[in-house]
């Protein structure tokens, strides 16, 4: 019973129920939504956001924020697309791009952890620089005509149901979730965000962990950029503009606290899936696409507000029960 209770109180569970609820409700209106094709489409579209949200989770856990991921995604996407178009080895290009993404993350991390610049300012600055660099790199032109061997894997299916990229995503996400929730070093991220000074006193390498979180965020943004190039097949100057907000929103939906210390990779990934599900559910409900933002925003606010209110209510009730028990004890004592 206790295990059941603790599962229900987990944010990941609430989010999963919510996701299932969306599927059932939309499925009642339009049964096509529950077919394998639609679910597969949603999972394919969500890969990009899952990667971004995963990287972002590490940064948010340490109590920082990274708004430069859209820029890293755009630039790394443009670089890998250009390399592959010009005939470079895709594996080699991918490694190069991942290295570059980590490097950008490292710069962010050094600025935040060593120089002491507030993370939102630092990453806002690098976002501006990266956005400019995309235009410089591409010369303002689209990168297109990518070879098929680069684009095809994105639509390759295993056993007719599982997308290859989704399989890779799961293979990355599940170990990371175990790492962040079970391993000693993985718990450091939450410790730094929960109580910075406490973490310092306990002997956690706080600065290293902060830098590592930004490096991971950059790495995953670069990975997302490569997935974008492969799935969409072209890169524009405006690729990834505003995508950092969707990544942050996914994390918030998935229960990652923006003040640090609370959250998990699984929750953030579920949040990312919900964000894409809403978009495609609207299509199946035949609702005009212009409602997309309004509904996403409304949902985000509703979930966060209800989460805060429920938590406050349960905390207060627990306090009252404790107080009542205390009073009872005193009366017995008399």
């Amino acid at each position: 019973m206790n295990i059941l209770k603790s599962v229900i109180y987990k944010r990941e569970a609430t989010v999963s129920f919510f996701l299932i609820g969306i599927f059932i409700l939309v499925g009642i209106v339009n049964p096509d939504f529950l077919t394998l094709t639609s679910i597969d489409l949603i999972s394919q579209n969500s890969i990009l956001y899952i990667f971004l949200a995963t990287g972002m989770t590490f940064v948010l856990l340490t109590g920082n924020i990274d708004v430069s991921v859209g820029g890293i995604l755009g630039l790394c996407g443009a670089i890998i697309a250009t390399l592959v178009r010009d005939g470079a080895n895709p594996i080699f290009s991918l490694l190069l791009v991942l290295l570059l993404g980590s490097l950008f993350g490292l710069i962010n991390g050094l600025g935040v952890a060593i120089a002491g610049i507030p993370s939102i300012i630092m990453t806002l600055g690098t976002l501006g620089i990266l956005r400019g660099m995309i235009v410089v790199y591409t010369g303002g032109k689209w990168v297109e005509n990518l070879p098929d061997y680069f684009k095809n894997p994105s639509s390759q299916m295993l056993f007719d149901a599982l997308n290859v990229y989704m399989l890779i995503t799961l293979l990355i996400i599940i170990p990371l979730q175990i790492y962040i929730s079970k391993s000693k070093r993985g718990r450091y991220f939450s410790a730094v965000g929960d109580n910075y000074n406490g973490a310092v006193l306990v002997g956690i390498p706080v600065k290293k962990i902060t830098i590592l979180s930004f490096v991971l965020s950059g790495l995953f943004a670069a990975l997302a950029g490569s997935v974008y190039a492969s799935q969409i097949g072209f890169i524009m100057n405006s690729t990834g503009v505003g995508i950092e907000m969707i990544a942050i929103a996914s994390c918030v939906l998935g229960g990652v606290s923006l003040s640090g210390g609370i959250g998990s990779v699984a929750g953030a990934s579920l949040g990312a899936v919900i964000m894409t599900t809403i978009t495609s559910a609207l299509v199946y409900l035949k609702v005009d696409a212009s409602w997309n933002n309004a509904i996403s925003g409304m949902l985000l606010i509703t979930i966060v507000v209800s989460d805060v209110l429920i938590h406050r209510y349960t905390a207060e009730r627990a306090k009252k029960i404790r107080l009542a028990a205390h009073v009872e004890n005193m009366e017995i004592g008399q």
């Binding site: 120089a115 300012i121 630092m122 806002l124 976002l127 501006g128 400019g132 933002n293 966060v304």
Partner: protein, 351 residues
């Protein structure tokens, strides 16, 4: 003698202040861009360039208040778009007088700010989360309104009456664009509000120490909410100015201004953690950013590249700010500039 000393100290503090630093940057910009393209030195052209960054300045001034209270509002850009759409729709679809429509747009901005402020201060949800959600919501509502009225989101509404267009393009005094007067009036209002009024002191105290503010009988919830309403109001005003300037209204107006607005406030020396900030600093930073953009355009650098120097400037400025707040770095700096007596030095070594 001691009096003179204090005066010298004040002078030195003034010379080393952040505002002076920003002023020097502005002068350097004028000098360098003028050398690249002498047209940049024409006063009339410089004054007209204010039109381009007025909308950022208008919102940045009130954003200073929100950031001083320790919050942030990233939904400002969406509110700009929403107010632009409200103005356009009420005017074109409902046939309302354009000024009455603008009034309702400002009202809608205040309402949006009220929602932000209510969620942040009364429900104690992080400002970043709330305004992230509402930024989706407001831009979504703007888009839905457009669709609802049967207006194409790409084309938007255009063809405003001359009187409305002259809000930005007109000249009350020949040779001086209206935007200067709007900026001066708003700066004066913000200056008085922040530094000379009880309200401004309350805002700053709330940012420095909210509990202390509560214990001294300040209703910090209302203070915080009012700051968000202020941003809502000025974003709406900014949306109206943008509609007048571009002679059209679209839902995606202002979508990219949020980052510039926050950059202007932070570059102006306002602490992102709250408690400290200045209106003059924000104003100067707006000019630094605006002249940078304008100057690069005059030097024939494509507009999209201008993000790079803006980002570099933001990082360098906050690096200097962070390092000057760093005790280790400061002690090093002191050692370089005024070498302490030997005994003090030994004492430090011992420590």
């Amino acid at each position: 003698m001691s009096n003179l000393n204090i005066n010298m100290k004040n002078l030195r503090r003034a010379l080393l202040s952040w505002d002076t630093f920003l002023l020097v940057i502005i002068l350097l910009e004028v000098l360098i861009f003028g050398l690249i393209n002498p047209k940049f030195w024409r006063i009339g052209l410089l004054l007209n360039s204010i039109d381009d960054f007025l909308i950022i300045g208008v919102v940045a001034l009130s954003m200073t208040f929100v950031i001083i209270t320790g919050g942030i509002d990233i939904s400002a850009g969406s509110m700009i778009g929403l107010s632009s759409v409200v103005t356009g729709l009420l005017w074109q679809v409902y046939g309302m007088n354009i000024w009455l429509a603008a009034f309702f747009a400002i009202l809608s901005g205040i309402l949006c700010g009220m929602l932000n402020g209510f969620l942040v201060s009364y429900l104690d949800i992080q400002a970043m989360v709330v305004t992230l959600g509402t930024s989706f919501l407001f831009s979504g509502i703007a888009l839905v309104l457009m669709r609802f009225a049967g207006v194409s989101a790409y084309e938007g509404i255009s063809g405003f009456p001359q009187s409305f267009k002259s809000l930005m393009s007109g000249h009350i005094i020949p040779g001086l664009p209206n935007s200067i007067f709007i900026l001066i009036i708003l700066v004066l209002i913000s200056l008085v509000l922040l530094s000379k009024s009880k309200y401004g002191r309350y805002v700053i105290l709330t940012g420095i120490n909210q509990n202390a503010a509560i214990y001294s009988g300040i209703n910090t919830r209302i203070i915080k909410m009012s700051a968000y309403m202020l941003v809502g109001m000025s974003s709406a005003f900014s949306g109206i100015l943008l509609s007048s300037y571009l002679n059209s209204s679209r839902s995606d107006f202002g979508a990219e201004t949020t980052l510039s607005i926050i950059t202007a406030v932070v570059l102006g020396g306002t602490l992102i953690t709250g408690g400290k900030g200045s209106v003059i600093g924000t104003l100067l930073a707006t000019f630094v950013l605006g002249f940078m953009k304008f100057g690069l355009q005059m030097a024939r650098v494509p507009t999209q590249y201008t993000n790079i120097p803006t980002g570099v400037l933001l990082i360098i400025a906050s690096l200097i700010g962070a390092l000057s707040g760093n005790s280790y770095f400061r002690s090093r700096l002191k050692l370089v500039f005024n070498r302490p007596k030997k005994s003090v030095n030994n004492f430090e070594k011992k420590l």
